[in-house]
Symmetry: C2
Subunit: 311 residues, 2 copies
């Protein structure tokens, strides 16, 4: 199984269009220690030919253009054969609109994510105008075999698991109070992916607010963990003056602090552990920073676009 | 008035994710005569500080990152102060979702385009969840002063004019037969822009199916014309085997042939004339091609991303 990091930035990427924080300035200036980041998405393949995306960011066009493994090999060739979504956030799902040419690939998501992309943003109904789109609902906890448009097995099995999460801001106004308050409604899931039983497995969790025992068990059993590294400190955006919201309030456990991601990962030594979904305000984006050293010293990696993992 | 070409590609850009046509292959291979193209959008400014986008493509993040004039100058700084839309096509409007951080800029569009982005794709209601978005409806034929969020005059006047057009595919199913059949309902407009009466003017028409006398008068009065150059020949995509649709069927007058764009522009010698919205199948994208020479010999230019015009 091959895993490619297409984008390791959070919503807005690095640089973010309207942001002048230190990392955005450094990325624009081309400082070698700060690599630009497109928005959060990975590509996974069992055979190196047919790929499944996990999340589909608005940057997907540039991401695919920059990734030779995903270039078409004939006049019209969709190397992206399926898309699985961890949630319906704009940075994770709006790129589906970019894949409309020739009809978008099948979409694997929870019923709640489907609802967000049907009633909230109407990405799925809009795509249907360009060609039939198979939306394949998944039930957290159950394995599915990923299949292309023609229903052919891609050689990948995937299992979504629920993480505590909130609906995307654009869906919230359409939900009842009870629906909005249910943190386990499937607004966000993590994905466990492998080429089959007994094969190494990937756990991909680009957004997680609560680091609980269910998640610990998922990570401990994996060969490769790609996990939410949005903010280094909980109040990093407030401190900077870029937002009034903490990382937790935006639905992301911070990397540091009591019960932060580094603490949590300390007990999970088996898998290779890599931070993804990095917000532009996060100092770990600068490989010359103290924050970066703290993460590396804990044996944890910081994802860059173009990073490749085989397992 | 400064005009920057942010993107001169049609929907899908160059290369297009699933396309292996000669121009897409050349762009991926880095052939010097074929520059990659992001999707269709321009930026206009009267003072070089505050910009209005005309169209907002899904590539807007990369476009702004690549354009120093549009980089933020403080911690949070939206140099894009307004967005005017020529239609609600995904390649022209989906990028609004990318500008959600801090609340999207005011959007100038026809009532029909607003309807498409409210009922069809729900981009506008979704954006409202991230901060108030001023949607300013325009009436074709009437001048408006472009203003930022705080209602400050950007020093630019703009006038939309109707061109014969069809609704975007995703809106069509929501329209009555009469509504869908009306080619002048404001689904697509051209824009005439200037810094004030007596100043040079830009006419921007990235999509036009019928080259009529109304358009001729608009172009003849302009200093700079940026006009639809989607396809070189009407049957170019059919010929290549990439589509069953002609340029005309997709709502675009071809560059060549009787009554094509080059013929039409022959009688309009005053303004600088530049082709934009170039489809990946269009051979003019290769500056070593005979097609490119035909266009240049007619005194017409082919836009590249990053091209700058002052007037």
């Amino acid at each position: 199984m091959q895993v490619l990091i297409l984008g390791s930035g959070a919503g807005g990427g690095l640089p973010q269009w309207n942001c002048g924080c230190p990392q955005c300035l450094a990325a624009r200036a081309g400082r070698p220690s700060v690599s630009p980041r497109t928005q959060s998405s990975i590509a996974v393949s069992a055979d190196g030919e047919r790929w499944a995306l996990f999340n589909c960011s608005p940057d997907v066009r540039a991401q695919l253009a920059a990734t030779p493994e995903l270039h078409p090999r004939s006049l019209r060739d969709a190397t992206v054969r399926a898309v699985a979504l961890s949630n319906a956030d704009i940075d994770h799902a709006a790129g589906l609109l970019v894949l409309r040419e020739g009809g978008a690939p099948p979409v694997y998501c929870t019923p709640r994510v489907r609802r967000a992309l049907t009633e909230g943003l109407r990405v799925l109904p809009a795509l249907a105008a360009y060609g039939e789109v198979a939306v394949r609902e998944v039930t957290p906890g159950e394995w599915v075999t990923l299949r292309d448009k023609a229903n052919e097995d891609l050689g990948l099995r995937a299992r979504a698991f629920t993480v505590a999460s909130k609906p995307p801001p654009y869906l919230a106004p359409l939900l009842s109070a009870d629906e909005a308050a249910d943190l386990h409604a499937g607004d966000t899931v993590g994905w466990c992916v492998s080429a089959g039983e007994g094969h190494p497995s990937l756990v991909y969790v680009p957004g997680v607010k609560v680091l609980d025992e269910v998640l610990r068990a998922e990570l401990a059993a994996a060969s490769l963990v790609l996990i939410d590294g949005t903010c280094f400190t909980d109040d990093e955006m407030v401190e900077l003056g870029a937002s009034t919201k903490t990382a937790q309030a935006m639905g992301h456990a911070p990397i540091t602090g009591d019960g932060g991601t580094l603490d949590f990962l300390r007990g999970i030594e088996g898998p290779r552990r890599v931070l993804v979904h990095l917000n532009n305000t996060n100092p770990v984006l600068d490989e010359a920073s103290g924050a970066y050293r703290v993460v590396r010293d804990a044996g944890v990696e910081v994802a860059r676009a173009g990073a490749r993992f085989t397992g």
